[in-house]
């Protein structure tokens, strides 16, 4: 009787151990990306673009070509790569500071041009790498290093809802928000990421997956408590769901 | 006017086609085997106000393409005369569009050539070719380009233009050239005295 391997490292994921904090969601989201690339059999022609933020070293964890972009500019860099090598699968992996603050212009316009790239947007409502400052997605009242009295809408504005904004544009073909706070949601997130890359493989257009995630270290919470806090506090502000699916990829799957 | 080099400033309202007029002269010079340069004013004035460009035709290599002291100013409107009149080299030429610029007391050390460019263009049925009337007139004075050079160069400049348009452009050249010839503008440099009836 031979043994059958039922679970292993996806081929697209490198052997480098993650540097992320204990309990961080990045490792799981990386894995979901690698699984989607493997299942679509495009690992040999995928090019990733790493952001500035906690996932600045994302390129260390994948086995395909990577560009490391300046803060917020990943969608512009990805535009350059995809236009140059249109048969490649090009994706950016960005956090909330990178995508929703300093890189707002780049993400909106890449989406509006309908660049045939995939964007994985990890929203944990805080700047992780720089040590826990307020993000554009930080909740009202949430305390961070730079909102020590809690975010005040009258001076710091409200949490910005990127998926909803991007879904208002004509060009994007797929805009969805997922989370990985439970097994059921994890499976939905995996499917969403797969769908996004599948659309790119088929040359369809701009696909955007927002993953609402935790940051136990900078939230000052245990990982399990963080997912509970996410469910109770973040999801009411950032509701899960698909905001745009022009081609009906979710139904066809 | 030196036979080696001709420095020209062409000026008018935006829309009078002075940049194109400069291009016609420069392109013609190039096809006639001369060294040429063309520099436009490109400031905010190009949006609705006045426009001008500097053209040099030369038998030798052009060192500086900037025209500070023009041999000739071709002025299509009144403000252009005001702006450039004093810059013309002593003994140089002011060729002006007398349809829009009244005769007046200009400098007495330059040659004055008045061309009713708008009226001529209107007679041809297209006021827009007033600039090309001036090109034809200029070729009468130039030592570096001829009327035939202008005619030879035109089809390349208005690529894709309809036959009628090409014909009217050529007619504009001819009318400008003939106007100078008929008026015998070869009278001396110090026309100011002529105007004053002395």
């Amino acid at each position: 009787m031979t043994m059958k391997k039922v679970f292993s490292r996806p081929a697209s994921l490198s052997k480098t151990p993650f540097h992320y904090c204990p309990g961080c969601d990045h490792g799981v989201i990386h894995r979901l990306v690698a699984e989607a690339i493997d299942e679509l059999e495009v690992g040999d022609r995928t090019i990733g673009v790493a952001p500035v933020g906690c996932s600045v070293f994302a390129y260390d964890y994948f086995n395909f070509d990577f560009n490391q972009a300046a803060h917020g500019r990943a969608p512009a860099v990805a535009t350059g790569i995809k236009r140059t090598r249109p048969d490649s699968i090009v994706f950016t992996y960005q956090g909330d500071g990178d995508l929703a603050a300093i890189g707002t212009a780049e993400i909106i316009h890449a989406a509006n041009r309908g660049e045939k790239i995939t964007v994985i947007f990890v929203n944990n409502a805080i700047y992780g790498m720089t040590g826990g400052q307020m993000a554009p997605t930080t909740l009202i009242g949430m305390k961070t290093q730079t909102s020590p009295y809690g975010r005040d809408a009258s001076t710091a504005g409200n949490p910005i809802k990127m998926s909803e904004m991007i879904a208002t544009l004509e060009s994007p073909v797929y805009v969805t928000r997922v989370t990985i706070n439970s097994v059921a949601n994890l499976m939905k997130a995996k499917k969403a990421i797969y769908n996004a890359f599948k659309l790119q493989k088929e040359g369809k257009g701009f696909s955007f997956v927002e993953v609402v995630a935790i940051c136990p270290t900078n939230w000052g919470k245990k990982p399990a408590d963080s997912h509970k806090w996410l469910t109770e506090n973040m999801l009411p502000v950032f509701p899960l769901g698909t905001f745009k699916d022009t081609l009906g990829v979710e139904k066809s799957a | 006017m030196s036979s080696k080099v001709e420095r020209i400033i062409l000026a008018g309202f935006g829309g009078q086609g002075v940049l194109f007029l400069g291009k016609v002269i420069a392109e013609t010079g190039m096809h006639a085997g001369k060294n040429v340069s063309w520099i436009p004013s490109y400031g905010p004035e190009m949006r609705g106000g006045t426009a001008n460009c500097s053209v040099i035709l030369s038998e030798n290599e052009i060192a500086s393409p900037m025209v500070t002291v023009p041999d000739t100013v071709i002025a299509m409107n009144r403000p252009s005369v005001t702006k450039f009149n004093q810059k013309i080299k002593a003994g140089g030429m002011l060729m002006y569009n007398s349809s829009l610029i009244e005769r007046q007391e200009f400098r007495d050390d330059i040659r004055l050539v008045e061309i009713p460019a708008n009226e001529i263009a209107e007679e041809l049925g297209n006021p827009k070719v007033a600039n090309l009337v001036m090109a034809g007139a200029y070729s009468k004075f130039s030592k570096l380009i001829t009327f035939d050079d202008l005619v030879a160069c035109l089809p390349g400049l208005v690529k894709g233009a309809k036959k009628e348009m090409l014909d009217i452009n050529l007619a504009a050249f001819k009318k400008g050239f003939d106007y100078v010839e008929e008026k015998k503008y070869m009278f001396g440099r110090y026309v100011y005295s002529v105007f004053k009836g002395i």
Binding site: I47, Q68, G80, S88 | E27, I39, G43, P65, M66
Partner: protein
């Protein structure tokens, strides 16, 4: 090929196409907008890509992406836009990605105006962005050179995996002169083994394009690697195959006063030198065609024979510092400049020369 009367901005565009460039990313700004307009029309004819970006910041980062994927790629702008591109240029230099950046200089600081200027010399030759890096800076003075140096620029950037800056100004961008266009070059996008998406059979590990080295020792090693590359480039221009390309000398051998200028100013200085000679003033002209690496050797040599130098710029005095460093105190170095969009006339420069050679 017959000569064509073209604007400097358009000549760059056509030369880029002939050099095998098929990718342009930019944002409109006067006085360089004819260049993107030309390529917006021209690139689709050769199956190329033109993207009008949302900003100069985005444009230079698209260049970074495209260059990292192996393309011959370019962007262009004018002074305020080039300031915005500095972030990307620093990343491109750090990641060693080839590309061509065109600056058609206008007046600054701030919004300044749209008239010609040369006040971005320091920004261009000192790096401009953050970090220890250099860009090769080419300074054309005619429409013909706008075309020729575009091609040289692409060759140099590919050879050294380094950004090349073509430093021009509003006059050169806007003026028309006859141009002999060069023969087209073939460029194979799969010629760079380090590029992202390279698919040659000899590729055995993944390619990475990055400027981050968090470990101190690694970053120091990288910076010294870049420094050594810059030394190789410097040698190439000071004594190697680009020695003659780097600088133009005119009537310097017996010159008592050497006039120094680059770009459009060098054309005016040539007229000034001719006028000086007619008046019996032994004037010569040195015209740096490459601003980094600066052609110091020619000044070291002429400091022995000439008695003084006059640097003329459309700035308050920037390149004059490099001339002073090169002359090294051996002879006096004077400066005359106009700014704000005024191009100095040959008459006023001649007046300055008179003051220096006939001090009364």
């Amino acid at each position: 090929m017959a000569k064509v009367l073209m604007k400097g901005n358009e000549a760059i565009g056509e030369a880029a196409v002939l050099a095998g460039c098929r990718y342009y990313f930019g944002y409109p700004i006067t006085p360089q907008s004819e260049l993107p307009a030309y390529l917006a029309k021209r690139l689709p004819e050769v199956d190329g890509v033109f993207v009008q970006a949302e900003s100069e910041v985005a444009a230079i980062n698209m260049v970074y992406g495209s260059g990292s994927a192996g393309a011959r790629v370019m962007t262009s702008s004018s002074s305020p836009g080039i300031s915005l591109k500095q972030e990307g240029i620093s990343y491109i230099a750090g990641a060693e990605v080839p590309c061509l950046i065109v600056n058609v200089m206008r007046g600054g600081p701030g919004l300044g105006n749209i008239a010609p200027a040369q006040s971005d010399y320091w920004q261009s030759t000192r790096g401009g962005g953050h970090g220890d890096y250099r860009t090769i800076v080419l300074a054309p003075n005619s429409v013909q050179e706008m075309a020729d140096m575009t091609i040289t620029g692409f060759d140099l950037s590919d050879r050294f995996r380094n950004p090349v800056l073509l430093l021009s100004d509003g006059v050169l961008g806007q003026m028309m002169e006859p141009v002999n266009l060069p023969e087209p070059h073939d460029y194979n996008i799969n010629s760079k083994k380090w590029a992202l998406g390279y698919r040659g059979s000899d590729k055995n590990e993944r390619n990475l394009c990055s400027s981050i080295f968090l470990d101190n020792d690694e970053l120091e090693e990288h910076n010294w690697h870049l420094y050594q590359k810059y030394q190789v480039i410097t040698d190439l221009f000071s004594k190697g195959e680009y020695k003659d390309f780097a600088v133009e000398e005119h009537l310097c051998d017996d010159a008592e006063i050497i006039l120094v200028g680059y770009g459009i100013i060098s054309r005016i200085l040539k007229t000034v030198v001719e006028k000086c000679r007619k008046r019996g003033i032994k004037a010569g002209l040195v015209r740096p065609k490459v601003l980094w690496p600066f052609p110091t050797a020619v000044f070291e040599r002429l400091a022995k024979t000439a008695s003084q130098f006059l640097v003329v710029e459309m700035s308050c005095g920037q390149m004059v510092e490099d001339v002073k460093l090169s002359v090294d105190g051996k002879k006096p170095v004077f400066f005359f400049g106009r700014t704000g969009g005024t191009v100095p006339s040959d008459f006023e420069i001649l007046n300055e020369v008179d003051k220096l050679v006939r001090p009364d």
